[in-house]
């Protein structure tokens, strides 16, 4: 099985200002039929509802068998993922290795 695609999110604030650009960026990357994405959110300090919407649309775009693992989620991002229950759909991982294992499994 090939490696999942790794997306380093470089925006410290994933909000309405950067969401459209970020969306285009990730959409292009998953458009080739990729079904497993490893999202590195280490750089993200803040995410608002629009940023969150992009992650959800990414998941939906990949269809039913798509899987997303998240590493580097800080407290604010983690709280948002828990509040919206996205933590039940995304694999929240402590390290990249762990995330790769999860995506492989």
């Amino acid at each position: 099985m090939s490696d999942p695609i790794l997306i380093h999110v470089e925006h410290p604030r994933l909000d309405a200002a950067v969401a459209p650009g970020f969306k285009d960026e990730v959409t292009t990357r998953v458009e080739q039929g990729e079904r497993r994405v490893l999202l590195d959110l280490t750089a993200v300090q803040f995410m608002d509802s629009t940023g969150l919407g992009v992650l959800v649309s990414l998941l939906k775009r990949m269809g039913g068998d798509g899987r997303i693992a998240v590493v580097g989620a800080g407290p604010a991002v983690l709280k948002l993922l828990q509040l919206t229950r996205l933590d039940t759909l995304f694999a929240i991982c402590g390290s990249e290795d762990e995330a790769r294992d999860v995506l492989r499994g």
Binding site: A16, D48, S49, L52, G53, V56, K60, L83, T84, R85
Partner: protein
């Protein structure tokens, strides 16, 4: 020069456009000279008049000309005086090209003339070729000036139109905002509870909505909706979701959970990317209980008269994300003395001047501090906490708070 100069192909670029004929005035105390220059100007496609003294010249300029060709040396007030007088009453919006005729050797005059506002010089005796060049440059200047004037007029008119459109738009937005405000809980229609609220959209229109309505049997429906984004789209959606929830009029916990599930389906059917987080509840003060259903929204805080705690509600996904999302109602105690606070993350994420986040804890603290005081004091204290925001117009998010408490009046407990 047999053929008129204006017919030369070389002059094509300086040909007057229809309605663009240069109106020229020739000023010289020597009438022969004035007539000669005027005639040459006519041959160059200008409409030329003559004047032989200062006063006559000024009068003609006042009637509107594009170009003045004046002699320097004239008895009484000379060409320099004339130019100064013309420029003195110049209207910035009227182009006027001034050419001065001087004798060779009058170079010392030229500097003063330029300062007075002369654009071009002709040496006497006037050579037709020199005159043609002067006219060409006058025509170009006047043409450019008129072009700029037209553009300016267009811009001014466009600006006007935009300003009017903007004013209309602002009126519409204000009207929409006031419609939204009217959705806010109305205490007089809520016989079983007392409510307080704080509602501060980030812009004139927000995506938050606060609702409370009497659904009969002593039960009150209430909710806070937070639609993703701000502005018109979010506001319209939140307005709609607000109405749908009230329309569905859930009167039991199961109906409330079902109402959120239907709204979720309805939003998905629109195939937009809009989504909303909702915390909705029902309270039955006479029975001393209530229920909450959560869709991706921050949990409510309950103050039971003694202490505050978060009402843990398992909750489902925000509305509009996934088909088949399930929601369940969680019961909580809502006896006398209880106060329940619902809020949007705009409030909990609010940071004061020191950059400290208010948090759910901060909201809980305010509930505790207002113990024993009328419910309105909570709203006032929250407003006070938010006050520094007023000095910072860059508000990050819509802010909503709804506090609800039982109001049994003289009614007996069940």
């Amino acid at each position: 020069m047999d053929a008129p100069l204006t017919a030369n192909a070389m002059d094509a670029k300086i040909l007057p456009a229809a309605g663009d004929i240069l109106r020229a005035l020739v000023v010289d105390d020597d009438t022969m000279m004035a007539d000669y220059v005027a005639l040459e100007l006519e041959r160059l496609g200008c409409h030329a008049e003559t004047a032989t003294d200062f006063d006559a010249a000024l009068a003609t300029v006042a009637s509107g000309v594009d170009m003045v060709v004046t002699d320097y040396q004239m008895p009484g007030r000379d060409g320099l005086n004339l130019v100064a007088a013309i420029r003195g009453r110049d209207r910035a919006d009227k182009p006027l090209h001034i050419v001065m005729m001087t004798a060779r050797g009058d170079e010392h005059v030229i500097r003063r003339a330029v300062d007075a506002g002369v654009d071009d010089f002709l040496y006497k005796p006037v050579d037709p070729l020199q005159l043609m060049l002067a006219v060409a440059s006058a025509r170009r200047a006047v043409h450019l000036h008129r072009l700029i004037q037209d553009r300016n007029a267009e811009l001014a008119s466009a600006h006007h139109t935009m300003r009017d459109a903007l004013a209309t738009l602002q009126d519409d937005i204000d009207a929409a905002a006031s419609l939204h405000e009217r959705l806010l809980p109305r205490p007089e229609r809520l016989p079983w509870v007392r409510v307080a609220h704080v509602y501060k959209p980030a812009a004139s229109l927000g995506g938050d909505s606060i609702g409370a309505s009497n659904v009969g049997n002593g039960r009150t429906l209430f909710f806070v909706i937070d639609v993703q984004g701000h502005g018109v789209q979010a506001s319209l959606d939140s307005f709609h979701f607000h109405h749908r929830l009230k329309q569905m009029r859930p009167t039991s916990p199961d109906e409330l959970a079902a109402a959120l599930a239907s709204l979720n389906r309805e939003i998905l059917e629109t195939e937009s990317e809009i989504y909303a987080t909702v915390l909705a509840g029902l309270v039955d003060p006479a029975a001393g209980e209530g229920w909450l259903v959560r869709a991706g929204h921050p949990a409510a805080i309950l103050f039971d008269g003694e202490q505050q705690y978060t009402v843990e509600v398992e909750g489902g996904f925000p509305l509009g994300w996934f088909a088949g999302s399930a929601y369940t109602a969680t019961r909580f105690a809502f006896g006398p003395g209880a106060r329940l606070a619902l809020y949007s993350d705009g409030l909990s994420d609010f940071r004061n001047r020191d950059g400290r986040e208010l948090g759910a804890e901060g909201i809980g603290r305010i509930l505790t501090e207002c113990r024993g005081k009328p419910i309105d004091s909570i709203g006032r204290m929250v407003e006070l906490t938010l006050a520094p925001r007023n000095s910072n117009p860059m508000l990050a998010d819509d802010i909503s708070l709804l506090v609800i408490e039982p109001d049994l009046g003289d009614r007996p407990l069940a």
